[in-house]
Amino acid sequence: MTAVEAPPLAWEPLPAAEWDAEAAAHLLRRTGWSAPPAEVARARDEGLSRTLERLFPAQPILCPEPPKVVKLKADAPELARGLAAADPAELRQKRREARERTQDTLQEMSIRWLQFAARPENAAFAKWTLFLGDVYVVSAEKVKNAALVWQHSDLIARHSLGAAPDLAKAMSRSPAMVNYLDLNQSRRDAPNENFARELFELFLLGEGHYAESDIKEAARAFTGYRQQLGEFRFAPRQHDAGPKTIFGRTGPFAGDDVIDLAYGQKAAAAFLPRELTKFYLGEQALPAADLAEIGDFWRSTGFNLRALARRFFGSRIFFDPSFRGTFIKSPIQFYLGLMQDLHLDVPPLPRQVLPPFRQMGQMLYYPPNVRGWVGGRSWINSATLAARRRVVEACFAPLREDLLNADEQAELAAARNEGMKNFSVGDSALGPFEALDSAAAADRLAANFLALPASAEFRAHVRTFLGDDHVDPARRRQRLRRAAVILLQSPEYQLC
């Protein structure tokens, strides 16, 4: 891997002269899932700065709360009373029902979020919240309550374009986080260090930028954080209000003070930009000087997340040729990119849509551990590649409505009422290609789907596969469909 030469003024905006359709497509692919031609044209015409204003707007774009989450929240007090009153035999039964309900709700959340994120106007914002959720990780595996998991994502979305310290404080109070990192177990006499450690190591500073004693003292400051039925509660009697020494300063610090102290540390400024680089640019690390430079800028904005995003995605560095077409798509990006590239709607069918995510190695709401997903090459092995190939094939296979149960048919009808109609690639979808000769069709397929220009040899193979220009239209259509499938399965399509 070649190290990126830091050009002078790396974080200066991309010069207007370099803003073209390729640059716009790069921006859309990396901030979102794909580069639909209409969106590329719009971004190119609007210019970089206005496009960034739109992709990272002043107000968050919230995903509507799924109906099952609404209902689960409304029923929570009654469910809790039921659990409290149950005898041991009933308790097993009720716990089981609660788990089944949470699983069911998580499935609806996944589908609704995918449908939300697939819309081009939501893509960049949705991915940005996915990024922040990969920093402030919680897992449904441990939290075990779908409503809390949803609330956590919603909190991230609401704070995702404001001041980072406010986000961190909201995260420390997120009921899902209170459970996930054991704040609810942390008592005045027995502080639990789990949250304090991850706060410094994974959320704010990074390893090596704090001492063990800082963690121990910070853990005391977060004692008394509780949650009840999805509401944050502070239990003063469980809180240790005594003096603590953190980063060399002493005072009767509370949780919020610890977060402010951490942001006062030098390491805080470059930490999130480094995470941002890993998530959006890949494993290749930027030189420390570059991270320090954007960190200084970020600190000067009061750690404003929207300002960071606009600076980062508008910079010369972001558009450097070494970052174009070299990033391995995550399973979520691969899937949502397919939806956009093929003009498909996400079917409201958890049984069909969600298992492939597991096989591809990324289940929404179930990150592997507190570090989140590793990404990059860890996404790829023979099993996950096979799963990606099957996802492409499934997009081209007609939906087998006869195999759906009554609930699923009702969901499908409801989605159609909302205007979602394309659940698989129909015969007409490749219409624009049918009039072209094989050489032109091959070029256009490659240009349409791939992030980088395909080599002449690559296009020649596709052209040969498409065969004779003068076969009958039905045969031609079949050939085009098969060529499209294979192009989407190719190594090049896994990159953006």
Binding site: R95, G325, Y366, A383, F458, P491, L495
Partner: protein, 417 residues
């Protein structure tokens, strides 16, 4: 596999590769596109044993097979009381004992039973049964308790256990499933090479053409970037497996003709892969349509005939290739059906049911105890053998893997293998 003299051929397995390199054909002969696992194999030079290991074939009867009409208690008056229209007549069942007989569609399975090659475990289920297809399948596939939610399947956990520490240089699949989606049973804590085989035959020529294009695309010059070449190599590796599997299936000559339906073809293809000596330990073949809420009689008769004829052909084919000692085939279904038939001449979701275990190394006969049918209307069967006892049998006594490592607790193996 014999080397084919008429065309230059790339070695497709580690063993072939080692044979070739042993004969002095060096690495250089394989151009820049030698799959990574072959190169690694050359470094390691330690072929793992690839044949002779026990193999388990799982047959999923999807939808919930009606156990009472599969293994019929033809002397029990309660059976005739509960099954007013659907009961099998006493003189039509294939008698296995003084009280139990197979559905008349299962003639071939009856013959295997009398040959001692078919074990039937009666009344298999689990405590607090769940009657949702989805959830109960999940319970069976993850081998969980009824109120326990496990992320990984029992076969996946078996592979986690069996493959721990094994070199990751082979892309030969450890588990193969028929059909497009990976069964939940296969999901493990680690990724294992698994392979999905299209159900039925598919269009061989089209598959071949598609694969060839993908292969050419992988070999076309592209970005010099590390990620791009990593992706190309990984994909080429898995295409090597796919090509091999397709060739093996295409070249296979079964000893007899299989029934001409998708299930028969699937079993034929499984036999082809077993005969080729793939290191695959588990095959998974679904047969669906057992959700017989109405007009059950014909549907179930057809499905059981498909099952019986397919399994018998598979067993005979294995035997004539002298592979029957190596393979055990087992059926399972997410639940049995309600003992009382419903008003639509069908049956609703129930609980326990018998399952079949077939093979030359199997201790044939009836195992476990028959369900009590002294039931009120719409009451369900109370299971007498836990399905995890059957899994423990397969793990401990057939696959040679400590069952507690996979099942999390001690279950009691049955004397069926």
């Amino acid at each position: 596999m014999s080397p084919n003299a008429s065309r230059p051929r790339f070695p497709t397995t580690r063993r072939e590769f080692l044979q070739l390199t042993g004969r002095g054909i060096g690495l250089l002969a394989f151009s820049r596109f030698a799959p990574a696992f072959l190169i690694n194999a050359a470094r390691a030079s330690t072929p793992a044993p690839e044949t002779g290991r026990p193999i388990l074939v799982l047959i999923q009867l999807a939808g919930g097979n009606d156990g009472l009409n599969t293994l019929v208690p033809f002397e029990d008056p309660n059976y005739f009381r509960l099954r007013r229209t659907l009961a099998m007549a006493k003189d039509q069942v294939i008698r296995l004992s003084g009280t139990a007989g197979l559905h008349p569609s299962c003639a071939e399975l009856g013959a295997l039973f009398h040959d001692g090659k078919l074990a039937i475990v009666q009344n298999v289920g689990y405590p607090n049964p769940n009657r949702s297809h989805f959830r109960s399948s999940e319970i069976w596939e993850t081998a969980s308790g009824s109120s326990e939610f496990l992320a990984n399947g029992w076969i996946g956990r078996y592979l986690d256990n069996a493959c721990a520490g094994a070199p990751r240089d082979s892309h030969d699949p450890m588990a193969v499933h028929l059909g497009s989606s990976v069964p939940q049973s296969f999901l493990g804590a680690h990724e294992h090479p698994t392979f999905g085989l299209g159900a039925g035959s598919g269009n061989r020529r089209e598959n071949e053409e598609n694969r060839r294009l993908l292969e050419s695309l992988c070999q076309s010059p592209g970005a010099a970037d590390d990620n791009a070449s990593f992706l190309r190599h990984t994909l080429l590796d898995s295409l090597v497996t796919e090509k091999r599997v397709q060739r093996v299936i295409g070249d296979y000559r079964p000893a007899l003709s299989y029934p001409t339906n998708a299930f028969g073809t699937s079993l034929r293809n499984v036999a082809a892969l077993i005969a080729d000596g793939l290191p695959t330990r588990v095959y998974f073949v679904p047969l669906s349509g057992f959700d017989t809420h109405s007009n059950q009689a014909n549907q179930q008769a057809n499905l059981l005939a498909t099952l019986s004829q397919g399994l018998a052909a598979f067993q005979r084919d294995l035997a004539s290739h002298h592979l029957d000692d190596q393979v055990v085939t087992m059926t399972f279904s997410e639940f049995g059906r309600r003992p009382s038939e419903n008003e639509s001449r069908g049956t609703d979701h129930g609980t326990a049911a018998p399952l079949f275990v077939m093979g030359s190394r199997v201790k044939g006969g009836l195992h476990g105890t028959a369900p009590s049918l002294d039931l009120a209307r719409n009451e369900d069967l109370a299971f007498t053998t836990d399905f995890r006892d059957v899994y423990a049998t397969m793990l401990d006594r057939w696959l040679g893997c400590p069952s507690t490592a996979v099942l999390g607790e001690k279950f009691s193996p049955l004397p069926i293998v």
